[in-house]
């Protein structure tokens, strides 16, 4: 006989199970089914076999969007680590108003991404933007921060770094504070300079934090969307179309739901592969 004691645990976990089935399991299974269909939402689904997969490998814009995402990651991740670590090092010293500075650097993290993007759009403006005014003020040429196809993605990466760096400063601060002070004292006795202490003690000791930052930045970088969506719309010449933006456009601009699902699935496997490789590195390091 089923007792109340036996039912209760299931009853308690049932909201999560229902939520999981409705909002995780079903969409995933449905997306996989969609990849074999053509569907614009309003008309019935049409089975197309592997057409969406064939199209994916011949889609130059998608391949470009993957390349753009990679460019973003290559700029963004090292920049994020260097800037965050540099600032964390400074904020780890006994400074006046240290708490205020820590708060100030963290502030962009809690500001809406849309607001930050619109603000930077103004800063990057060709004619009236602050950066170009500064450049022309010192006699340099203006830069097409968002209109030059060779520069636009770099501009977006710099902005994304500014937006997120506060979070990574906090992570590095935690890492730095776990380094035992006696290591530095011993190094001081041996006559080590600041750089030697940094490279021989600090960096190896905070390695796990660096790996965590790399993983978080990678996942965040793969989901690049708001910045190009608002600032450039993917232009100029598709130089800032990220993979997620392209998938979104296919799904919600053109209602190519089957194709968007195929792109999404493929992209999910790419992320999975990258994270697995990173995991291998971390395990090897440990």
């Amino acid at each position: 006989m089923i007792t109340r004691k036996k039912i209760l645990p299931y009853l308690l976990v049932s909201p999560y199970i229902v939520h999981f089935l409705l909002f995780v399991a079903f969409p995933v299974v449905f997306s996989i089914v969609l990849t074999f269909h053509k569907w614009n939402i309003i008309a019935p689904m049409e089975y197309t076999g592997l057409n969406n997969y064939v199209r994916l490998f011949n889609d130059k814009t998608f391949i470009k969007s993957m390349g753009n995402t990679l460019i973003f990651l290559v700029i963004h991740i090292p920049l994020q680590i260097i800037v965050a670590l540099f600032l964390a090092e400074i904020l780890n010293q006994k400074l006046k108003l240290r708490g205020v500075f820590r708060g100030a650097f963290f502030l962009p993290v809690i500001v809406s991404g849309v607001v930050v993007t619109i603000l930077w759009q103004q800063l990057y403006g060709f004619d009236t933007g602050l950066f170009n005014r500064l450049l022309t003020g010192v006699g340099l040429s203006k830069v097409g921060w968002l209109t030059d196809p060779g520069i636009a993605m770099i501009s977006i990466a710099v902005m994304a770094t500014w937006k997120n760096v506060g979070l990574y400063i906090i992570l590095f601060l935690v890492g730095l504070q776990t380094v035992p002070a006696q290591y530095y004292e011993a190094a001081d006795l041996e006559g080590a300079n600041h750089w030697q202490k940094f490279f021989k003690i600090t960096l190896p000791m905070i390695n796990p934090t660096i790996f965590m930052v790399v993983i978080l930045s990678t996942i965040g970088g793969f989901s690049l969307f708001i910045e190009p969506y608002i600032m450039t719309g993917g232009g100029p010449l598709n130089s800032t179309v990220s993979a997620v933006l392209y998938i979104y456009k296919q799904g919600f601009f053109y209602y190519h739901m089957g194709y968007a699902a195929t792109l999404g699935l493929f992209f999910a496997f790419i992320i999975l592969a990258v994270v697995m490789i990173q995991k291998k590195f971390i395990e090897k390091d440990h």
């Binding site: 008309a43 403006g125 009236t128 209109t147 719309g233 598709n238």
Partner: protein, 431 residues
């Protein structure tokens, strides 16, 4: 007791969300639901028209309501179609969306309703009727209102350039632009341009540059016919050449100026391609002494014949979920008869798509009071909507991609860009 309490709580939890899905605004045999646009002027129009109908028709009433809030009305309609919660009548349907809905079988073929074709023929030119006809030969939309894209210009600036009229041809446009362009702050960069058009690659931005210019140059030629691209022609190439020169010579800014203070009213630019909605905006925000006017789109130097433009048509449809389509049509007739059209003009300052509206004395009083709207009414004889195609957004997207490469960045010749866009569109139809 506890078990009873849990069961009741669970039932309420299940019932509440289901109940919230039911809007309480379902149509029935005795009531029609009409979704209008959610701007306050159109809500007022819908309110007055509905009250009039309900007063005279006690058997079947109409309930109007603004289209529910969302990122765009197109998305709301799509969601309603998917969820089978469409209203009986919807006004403000973009003409370019109709073909996809027609092919999905969610719209009523209006030409099967009694009296529809007679009424339509009286209201619209045969050209308009052919334009709105779907690929299957039926008509699923009622032409309602248009916002023709024209050239707005600063009258004082034109006078400063030694002309009382704005440029009419491409050569004129270049000449005016060269004279007007200036580095005002002396930093070595142009910061006063003759015109501006959004440089974003978003497909619908081409409704404000390439497409109206193409229609003007070609005398209203289509971009696609059935499942074939038909724009690989001299007109499209001329338009690409014209626009490319504007950017190459820096007569138009490549920067996104839309996030700044209105560049037309602050006299940073002298012209812009825009619609009649600009009148209310300009009159409200223009500085003292600022005078502006409208003119037709510029055309190639050797152009002959009328100058067409894009009309940005918004139409009325009846969804198949409607239980009384004939009655719905009778109601729609009251929205678009002469009285309804005049009311639309007076309340919303939007132009009904009615033939000879510019010379019909019934509307004369309105146009005497609103002379700038008369310019749009005069243009209304020569407007085009969009071609019937279920993949119109993709067509414009493909054109927009080539537009960016050629016009903005000069990486392709106009001939190559137009050919590539045309080939890509034909490939799209093959898929």
């Amino acid at each position: 007791m506890n078990r009873l309490f849990i069961n009741i709580a669970l039932l309420i939890l299940i019932w509440l969300p289901l109940q919230s899905c039911n809007s309480g605004n379902q149509s029935s045999d005795t009531r029609l639901i009409y979704w209008c646009s959610n701007n306050s002027y159109e809500i007022q129009f819908a309110k007055l028209e509905t009250e009039k109908w309900n007063k005279n028709n006690s058997n079947i009433s109409v309930k109007y309501q603004p289209v529910p809030e969302g990122r765009s009305s197109e998305e709301i309609i799509l969601a309603a179609v998917v969820g089978k919660t469409t209203p009986d009548i919807y006004s403000n349907m973009w003409q370019g969306d109709v073909e996809a809905y027609a092919q999905a079988g969610v719209l009523v073929a209006l030409d099967t309703l009694n009296g529809f074709m007679d009424f339509l023929s009286e209201r619209c030119d045969s050209e308009v009727i052919e334009e709105i006809r779907s690929l299957d030969g039926h008509i699923y939309q009622i032409p309602w209102k248009i916002n023709p894209i024209m050239l707005i210009y600063n009258e004082k600036m034109m006078a400063d350039l030694g002309s009382s009229t704005p440029p009419q041809s491409y050569s004129d446009f270049f000449r005016f632009s060269a004279k007007f362009q200036k580095d005002v702050n002396g930093d070595g960069y142009v910061d006063r341009w003759f015109g501006y058009s959004e440089v974003l690659v978003t497909w619908w931005q081409r409704f404000f540059d390439f497409y109206p210019l193409y229609l003007a140059a070609s005398g209203g030629a289509p971009l696609v016919k059935g499942d074939k691209a038909v724009f690989n022609n001299e007109y499209a190439i001329d338009v690409f050449k014209f626009l490319r020169m504007l950017y190459k010579k820096n007569y138009f800014s490549k920067e996104q100026l839309s996030a700044r203070q209105d560049v037309f009213l602050s006299e940073i630019i002298a012209t812009r391609f825009t619609g009649p909605w600009e009148i209310a905006h300009a009159d409200k925000f223009k500085p003292k002494g600022f005078e502006y006017n409208f003119s037709s789109m510029p055309v190639p130097d050797d152009h002959k014949g009328p100058k067409y433009t894009y009309g940005d048509p918004k139409n009325i449809v009846i969804f198949k979920t409607c239980k009384k389509p004939q009655v719905a049509w009778e109601y729609v007739k009251t929205l678009i008869d002469r009285d309804g059209d005049l009311k639309l003009l007076e309340l919303t300052n939007q132009l009904p798509r009615r033939k000879n509206i510019n010379i019909d004395p019934y509307f004369g009083n309105y146009f005497n009071k609103n002379p700038k709207m008369k310019i749009f009414a005069d243009q209304s004889k020569y407007v085009r909507g969009t071609d019937a195609s279920p993949v119109l957004k993709e067509v414009f997207d493909l054109i927009s991609q080539e537009y960016e490469a050629c016009v903005i960045y000069g990486m392709k010749t106009p001939e190559q860009a137009v050919k590539d866009a045309s080939d890509a569109v034909n490939l799209l139809f093959l898929k």
